[in-house]
């Protein structure tokens, strides 16, 4: 994919950090506001996909390449399973909320839930990106 005109490129370059920040905000505030890991992860993935549309696949791969995306997905999955197993080791059951709760209504509250949100945010962002890369890779081959 070749990318788009200079207007689109400039605007998406300017928008990218804000989108990224917004996605991170949604992930981190999962236990306080509507949203959470899945929603924030989708925004994060959308930020990179915007670059992909504007600059072509090379532009996006400069930020996050396919191998990094796959590794990040595994990392997210491992965070989830690890936190689940923490419940078994520290508490009494799989997926138990074992970290201290903190004070209700603050960013660092609700025990394990922010960690879960963080893990799944990474996982969703990387997963959606991997799907896009996989489809684009084969399309690119056909054009050659």
């Amino acid at each position: 994919m070749a990318g788009m005109t200079v207007i689109v490129r400039t605007i998406s370059r300017l928008l990218f950090p804000f989108l990224f920040l917004f996605g991170a905000y949604i992930v981190v505030h999962g236990q306080l506001t509507p949203g959470g890991g899945f929603q924030g992860g989708v925004v994060l993935a959308a930020a990179v996909i915007l670059l992909l549309l504007a600059y072509g696949i090379e532009g996006a791969q400069a930020k996050v390449n396919a191998l990094q995306a796959e590794l990040a997905e595994s990392l997210g999955g491992l965070i989830l399973v690890w936190m689940g197993l923490m419940g078994t080791i520290v508490g009494i059951a799989f997926f138990q909320n074992v970290l201290p709760f903190g004070s209700l209504g603050h960013v660092l509250s609700a025990g394990s839930l922010p960690v879960f949100n963080f893990g799944v945010g990474i996982k969703v962002a990387a997963g959606l990106l991997t799907i896009f890369y996989a489809i684009l890779r084969i399309q690119g081959e056909e054009e050659k």
Binding site: L32, T33, P34, G36, F38, G105, I131
Partner: protein, 121 residues
Amino acid sequence: MSLNYIIAMLLFTLGIYCLLFKRNIVKMVIGLQVLTNGLHLFLISLGYREGGIAPILAGEMLGRGATAEFAAAAVDPVPQALVLTSIVINVCTMALALSLAIYIYRHYGTLNPFQIRRLRG
């Protein structure tokens, strides 16, 4: 408040109609999405409460620690959680279905399900 239910069920029926009558795989996948979205609307409506607030303890109620008052006013959180799960499942189904549709088009040159029936009998 049964208007929500009626519309949700009509969307569900519309989805089944799409699956049975549309002659394009992409349109069938869209029909599947309409169907599932009808279901999601139905689930969300199940948790509705007249004049209810979002199930998030925030603002003035959080300050007073009024959990009992909050529980009496908020809508049901469980269907919302179920819908979140179901949406992700739906996205995944769609991703895989559209990928298969790309392959179908590559092998058969058409997306009409009535023309790609080489497996018979």
